[in-house]
Every structure is written in structure tokens, then in C-alpha cells.
């Protein structure tokens, strides 16, 4: 049996409970080492490992973006804390953690505090859904792609809740824009994903990745990749589609009234979503943790090779996001809607047709396949 994240956390759990249980007399010892308790603790440890790994990755992503943006602007980015500023964002996080959490007097207390929390939580849930390698895997759900996209698109709701309850016109405008923006990008994203699903024949992300062992989907589905990429830019609310935040017009958009740890929640969740967006692009189009067969086996068979290649691809995709951020100006709402409805939806429909053609072509006698959906 391959080493998986769950088996590791199960081993840690039984080791811990065995050590702690040996202190206590029999009935407690027996209860502590029973399968239920060990499994329960293993799940908690699993979640803790997942949380820590994803948070560290997210914070490193912020560092990565700062360094890249610096280079794009002929600067160096963060330099002083840690080697090449590696620890700068941890220091920033600690500073925000120590800050006083305040609330505007006229704000709605419930919405003000649940908004950022729910935004953060719904973003973090995705780390449990998305598989990172064959071992680092939250579980095999038959509809995990659909679940991921559904949870991913919760965010504008909570942005709107926190924006409205801030009781600030800039926040409200930002929240409205966030909600309006969702109309523009959700449909093209889902249509582009349909093309992938047609090609893979499954909504399960594991299956989608395993289907890409022979060829990565971005080859036949380059149009869908383009649509998905642009949609993800809008979904993450990054430049050029950062209308809800639009510093030049709306102060800080929907997080104008937030400070301290609540602001850190928004900031972190933004980058969690950026990370998730890059992960999704890699999972759906760039082969996930698999590598093409012409890559030497030595490069793909070392321990944790899957995670290594996956993260490498993810950071490369994120670098393209940063490149776009460093280059393009912000679009207007009407331009965004025009891009979404008049450019992206036809392209997405075209990609569905292309995916169907590819499925048909796979069934041609030259390829020697049997005509089934998903090959």
C-alpha cells in the first residue's frame, strides 16, 4: 500500500495515543487505543497537516508574488527579513495578528465578523477537496470537481455580506461589483470545465488527472484553457479583473473597513483562492502530478515527486497570473461583462465542440479505441 497522507497521520495518531495510553490504567488505555479514537485523532492530524501545509504554501505564494512583481517593476521586492525576504510575510502576518480588532460603530456585528471568517473557511475547504498527488489526497469523491467549483464560487456571497455589514459606501460598492462580476465569469468557467469533463469522462479530479497520463488536456483544449484561465482571473478578483477592490476608485473595495486579523483573513483567503485557482488550472489542463512519458523516470520517481511537480506547475501558473497583474490595466464592469458574455462564452462553446471532436477522433479505427465516452 502506498504511503498516503492519511496513513501517515494514522500512524502518528496511533503512536501518540499508544504513548499517552500507556500512562493510564486499563479501561482508559483500551478506550484510547480503540480504532474509533485513533481514527478520529488521525482525521484531526490529517486536517492539521493539510492546514499547515496550505497556509505555508499560501504565505510563500505571497512572497513569490511580491518578488515577481518587484522584478517586473525593476525592483527587488522584500529583501530584509529572512533570506531574500522569505520571512517577511510571516512577520507581516504576526503584526496583523497582534493588531486590535475593531468594528465601525454603525456596522452590523454578525455580518461584519462572519463575512471574513466564512470567506476564509470556504476557501480553505478546497484544500481538502483538491488532490495534490496520489498520496496527498483528501478522498475520492465522484463529483469532486463540481463540489470544488461550487465551494469556490461561494466567495462573492460572503464578500457581499461583509461589504454590506461594514456600512460603508465603498465597501458596499465593492461588494455589489463582486456580485455583478460573478455573472460574467461563472458561465464561461463552467462551460470550459464541461469540455474537460467530456474529454475525461468523469467529474472526479483523480480520474481527470489519471486520464491525462497520455496527453495533457491543454493540447486539445487550448481554447478551454484560455477561457478557464481568464475566468479564474476574474474569480480570484485579480488584476485586470479586480473591480471589487479597485484601490484607485473604492479605497480598498469591500475590505475598506477591515483591519488587523480580519483584514489578514481577507488577504490570506485571496491568496488561498489564487493558489486554488492555479491548482485547478494544473489539475484540469496541465496533468496534475503526472509528467509526460518522455521525462526521464529518475525525475518522476523520487519520493514526493508528484507533489514536487505539481507545486512546480502551480507556481508556474501563478507566475503567469502575476505577469498579467504586472502588465494589464483594470477593465470596467461593462468591459468585463462584454468579455465574459461576448468573447468567452462562444469560445467555451467552441471548446466543447472541440472536446466532442477529440472524443470522436479517439474512436477512429486508426487509434484503435472503442467508442466510449471518456475513452
Amino acid at each position: 500500500m502506498a504511503t498516503t497522507l492519511y496513513s501517515v497521520s494514522d500512524a502518528i495518531s496511533s503512536l501518540l495515543l499508544g504513548a499517552v495510553g500507556s500512562i493510564f490504567p486499563e479501561p482508559v488505555h483500551g478506550w484510547l487505543t480503540s480504532t474509533d479514537v485513533v481514527t478520529g485523532l488521525a482525521v484531526l492530524i490529517f486536517c492539521a497537516i493539510l492546514l499547515v501545509a496550505s497556509m505555508i504554501n499560501t504565505i510563500m505564494l505571497i512572497w513569490f508574488e511580491r518578488k515577481l512583481l518587484g522584478r517586473f517593476m525593476d525592483r527587488r521586492g522584500a529583501m530584509h527579513v529572512g533570506y531574500a525576504g522569505l520571512l517577511q510575510n510571516f512577520a507581516d502576518g504576526l503584526k496583523l495578528f497582534r493588531k486590535n480588532t475593531f468594528m465601525p460603530r454603525e456596522a452590523d456585528r454578525l455580518g461584519y465578523f462572519t463575512g471574513p471568517t466564512a470567506y476564509m473557511v470556504t476557501s480553505m475547504i478546497l484544500f481538502g477537496i483538491l488532490p495534490v498527488s496520489s498520496g496527498w489526497n483528501g478522498g475520492s469523491l465522484p463529483l469532486s470537481l463540481l463540489l470544488a467549483l461550487a465551494v469556490f464560487s461561494f466567495a462573492p456571497l460572503f464578500i457581499f455580506v461583509s461589504a454590506w455589514s461594514s456600512n460603508n459606501k465603498y465597501s458596499l460598492l465593492g461588494g455589489m461589483r463582486s456580485a455583478a462580476q460573478m455573472i460574467a465569469y461563472e458561465v464561461p468557467i463552467l462551460l470550459a470545465v464541461v469540455a474537460v469533463v467530456i474529454l475525461a469522462g468523469s467529474f472526479d479530479l483523480n480520474t481527470i488527472v489519471l486520464e491525462q497520463q497520455n496527453y495533457w488536456f491543454w493540447g486539445p483544449l487550448v481554447v478551454a484553457l484560455f477561457v478557464f484561465f481568464v475566468g479564474m482571473l476574474a474569480e480570484m478578483e485579480r488584476i485586470p479583473f479586480d473591480l471589487p477592490e479597485a484601490e484607485a476608485e473604492l479605497v480598498e473595495g469591500w475590505n475598506t473597513e477591515y483591519g488587523g486579523m480580519l483584514f489578514a483573513f481577507f488577504m490570506l483567503a485571496d491568496y488561498v483562492r489564487a493558489l486554488i485557482g492555479s491548482l485547478l488550472v494544473v489539475l484540469l489542463f496541465l496533468g496534475g502530478w503526472t509528467m509526460p512519458s518522455y521525462v526521464p523516470t529518475a525525475l518522476t520517481s523520487f519520493p514526493l515527486a508528484g507533489i514536487f511537480w505539481f507545486m512546480l506547475k502551480t507556481y508556474a501558473v501563478f507566475a503567469i497570473f502575476v505577469w498579467i497583474r504586472a502588465s494589464l490595466p483594470r477593465v470596467r464592469t461593462d468591459q468585463l461583462l462584454r468579455i465574459g458574455w461576448m468573447r468567452m462564452i462562444p469560445l467555451a462553446l467552441l471548446s466543447i465542440v472541440l472536446a466532442g471532436l477529440v472524443v470522436l477522433a479517439r474512436c477512429l479505427p486508426v487509434f484503435g479505441c472503442v467508442p466510449t465516452l471518456g475513452g
Binding site: L68, G70, R71, F72, M73, D74, R75, R76, M79, W323, I324, A326, S327, L328, P329
Partner: protein
């Protein structure tokens, strides 16, 4: 053929709006790996000729450092040897950044005091070097003062003396001290002859001269005092006002000789 077509507006050309910024940014990105424009300031300084040479070699284009004007007012230089501890610099300082601190070299009864300057407060107005009667506190054109610690912004007299010894480029403009018509005058009936003014005078221009002790009329009581009075040598006086501030009876004041 392309010229015959009407020029499209930038927003109608997707290449102009998307592709060109992307290529520009990519080119900038590639260029920044040769050397970003950032100067890691405390570690790399433009004033350092070695650093300038390094940059010129790496990036292929030389960078210059701006020239300083001759009358730039930078960090001070202090000649401790000629300082007379007159306190005028501290009096004239509008930011109260000058403290007179004891330096070794004075006699134990009258410790020698020289200015210590807090550059965290200093506004580089140059009043102190204008006020200095001996010309020992001057300003240089040196401006590299940045330190990571606030306490290092306070320059002791010894450190200012180092600036003097290192012969940092001096600011040649120093206003001639205007001839001061004021003189120290004495309200003689108040004086008790205590010698405080003569003791503290930085230029030793005050001499205590005997005055005749009046004969007491019957029934009149003479004041208890030392029968001496200060006489100020105006040619030596630097008008620092120390005598006025130390006088216990406030009998010295500024005035003009009639």
C-alpha cells in the same frame, strides 16, 4: 498596405491593449535579472566608487552620483581645541538639539563643555555655526548619516571632532558674525561681587575690580557684600550671555554704551 487602413483606436486593437503590455513587462522582467534598479541602501551606497563601478560592469551603463553644492549644510565638524564652551551654539539652536556636554581637558573646577548634536532633531539651519564666535563649529557637505539606531544619531563632541580631523569637505560659506553693538552692562547697586560672571566667562574677559567701600553713616547699615564689581572687556567679549544667565542678582543686562 497596413498604412492604407485607417488607424484603429487602441481599445479596438486587442494586441495594443493586451499583447504589448505583456511583452513590455516580460522584457522588463528579463532585464531585471541582470540587475534591478533597487539599491540596497544601507549596504550599497552610491557614494561608494567600488559600488558604482560594479553596477557599471553588471548593467553596462554607468550610474552617477549627484554633486553636492559647495554651500550644502551637512553634518557638523567641531574643533574641540579652539572651542571656548561659550554655549552660543546651543542658545541659537531653534530645534534644541545641541547639548553642552563635558569633555576631558578642562580644569576640574571649570569643566570644558562642547556641543553634542542630536541629528534626529537637527534641521541643518546652520545657526549654530553662524553663532560660533571662534569658528570652531562648522558645517561640512557630508550627508551620509543614516543608521539603524536612533541613539547613533546623537553625535558626541568627540565624534564631531573626528569629522574635523578627517577633513570632510567643508561648507565654505559661513556668515561673518555681525558686529554686535550690544554690550554687557551692570546695574551696580544690585551687584554683590560674587564673581560668578567672571568665573563662568568663556573668554575670561570679565575682571573683578575693587570698588571703594563707602563709609557708613550713623544709623545706616551697609549691605553685606564683596566690594568688587565686574568690568567687561568688550573687545574680547563674544556676547555669549553666560554672565547674564549665571548672575544670581540679575544685575547684568544687555545694553549699549552711551
Amino acid at each position: 498596405m497596413a498604412a492604407s487602413k485607417p488607424e484603429k483606436r487602441p481599445e479596438e486593437r486587442p494586441t495594443g491593449l493586451v499583447w504589448k503590455p505583456l511583452t513590455t513587462a516580460a522584457r522588463q522582467f528579463a532585464k531585471s535579472f541582470v540587475r534591478p534598479s533597487t539599491i540596497l541602501y544601507p549596504y550599497e551606497r552610491l557614494e561608494d566608487p567600488k559600488f558604482r563601478e560594479k553596477v557599471a560592469v553588471e548593467s553596462g551603463r554607468p550610474i552617477g552620483v549627484g554633486e553636492i553644492w559647495d554651500n550644502y549644510r551637512g553634518v557638523h565638524a567641531l574643533n574641540i581645541a579652539t572651542c571656548i564652551s561659550c554655549n552660543l551654539c546651543a542658545f541659537s539652536c531653534p530645534d534644541l538639539c545641541i547639548d553642552m556636554v563635558t569633555v576631558p581637558g578642562g580644569d576640574p573646577k571649570h569643566p570644558k563643555k562642547c556641543p553634542q548634536i542630536d541629528y534626529g532633531k537637527c534641521s541643518y539651519c546652520g545657526f549654530c555655526s553662524d553663532a560660533c564666535p571662534e569658528g570652531c563649529l562648522t558645517m561640512t557637505t557630508h550627508y551620509e548619516l543614516s543608521t539603524p539606531k536612533r541613539s547613533e544619531m546623537v553625535y558626541s563632541p568627540q565624534r564631531l571632532f573626528e569629522n574635523y580631523q578627517h577633513k570632510l569637505p567643508m561648507n565654505p560659506i559661513r556668515l561673518a558674525r555681525p558686529a554686535n553693538e550690544d554690550a554687557i552692562l551692570l546695574d551696580a547697586p544690585l551687584c554683590i561681587g560674587c564673581n560668578a560672571c567672571a568665573r563662568d566667562c568663556p573668554t575670561n574677559c570679565i575682571t573683578m575690580l575693587d570698588v571703594a567701600k563707602p563709609t557708613a553713616k550713623p544709623g545706616e547699615k551697609l549691605p553685606r557684600r564683596i566690594w568688587k564689581e565686574p568690568v567687561v572687556n568688550d573687545s574680547d567679549c563674544v556676547r555669549c550671555g553666560t554672565c547674564i544667565s549665571v548672575c544670581p542678582k540679575e544685575c547684568l543686562f544687555w545694553g549699549t554704551h552711551k
